[in-house]
């Protein structure tokens, strides 16, 4: 019996590793940007193209930058949560409209509601590359010093919001 113990232990270990590996999401690539200053940009606003916004304008505030597009289907999943968050006035949410047509983006906001203080237009996706965006939606929590504290890849879920984003934002506001 004893001679089977070692192979059995190795087998159990292997199953353990595989089980953990199976549950990891390979699409979640750890972002090197967390803990770094949000890359600067100057982009026109979606609703007022003659005005421009830079992340430095939000200094002193804890805020969310949400990358979205009207062609992005899973953006619709997280949209009610963002609307609710905006209604509760927890923190400002700004949109980065990614590789979209401005008229379609405006129509989309009219149809589904607009949780954003305003959205900025990144028509060619250049700024998104600086932010390491590789799938829409993505959401960044940025602190009062302009440092990225959290990055959500894919739609924000109620669990992520309650367990990660809101507690972190509350801690950052202190």
């Amino acid at each position: 019996m004893k001679r089977f113990l070692l192979p059995l232990a190795v087998f159990v270990l292997l199953v353990g590793f595989l089980a953990v590996g199976l549950k990891l999401n390979p699409r979640e690539v750890p972002s090197p940007l967390v803990g770094r200053t949000a890359p600067p940009f100057q982009l026109p606003l979606l609703q007022q193209p003659d005005k421009r916004f830079a992340p430095a304008d939000m200094r002193g505030k804890v805020w969310l930058l949400n990358v979205w597009a009207s062609w992005c289907v899973s953006c619709r999943d997280e949209h009610p949560l963002l609307l609710d968050l905006a209604k509760r006035g927890v923190m400002p949410i700004l949109g980065l409209n990614y590789k979209d047509k401005s008229d379609e983006a405006t129509a989309w906001l009219k149809q589904f509601g607009d949780p954003y203080q305003f959205s900025v237009v990144d028509a060619e996706g250049r700024i998104a590359i600086d932010y390491g965006v590789y799938g829409v939606p993505e959401t960044y929590l940025i602190d009062s010093e302009g440092v990225i504290r959290y990055k959500q890849i894919g739609p924000v879920t109620a669990a992520v919001l309650e367990q990660k984003i809101l507690p972190l934002a509350a801690a950052l506001k202190k």
């Binding site: 090197p32 996706g125 590359i129 590789y134």
Partner: protein, 145 residues
């Protein structure tokens, strides 16, 4: 004559330069992973993001950035994951050394097992009792009684 030499030089030098940078672009695209379709390189991926990133690589090669600078630009944004060949550092040490550690462990087990086998005394073909039994059945001279 001068014009002829000049035009020949231009003819030979121009494609040379662009071929070289074309090769560099291609090489870099092979080294970078597409983040949307993760098992494809930037060169192979048809996704929109890969197209944008290929454009970035091309522009940066054109503007005279070195390969190392371009790879650093990508890593800064997308992390080591964007490289097909991850760099050797504390977090990737297991990845790089792991297989060799396993190989060494297997070799050690093999050597230990072989040695133990060699050291074990060989059992006599027949135990004393068995030999007596054989002698009783076959008789001392080995012929059946």
């Amino acid at each position: 004559m001068r014009i002829l030499i000049f035009s020949v030089l231009v003819l030979f030098s121009l494609p040379g330069i662009s071929n070289e940078s074309e090769e560099r672009v291609r090489g870099l695209e092979e080294k970078l992973r597409c983040l949307v379709c993760q098992n494809q390189s930037l060169a192979d991926s048809p996704s929109g993001l890969a197209t944008d990133l290929r454009q970035q690589v091309r522009e940066q090669v054109k503007s005279g950035q070195s390969d190392a600078q371009i790879l650093a630009y990508m890593v800064q944004r997308y992390g080591d994951f964007v490289l097909y060949q991850p760099p050797f550092k504390a977090t990737t040490a297991l990845l790089w050394i792991g297989p060799f550690v396993l190989l060494a462990a297997a070799a050690l087990v093999l050597v230990a097992t072989l040695r133990r086998r060699r050291r074990a005394p060989e059992e006599p073909a027949l135990a004393v009792e068995e030999k007596r039994l054989v002698e009783r059945v076959l008789g001392q001279d080995g012929k059946p009684q």
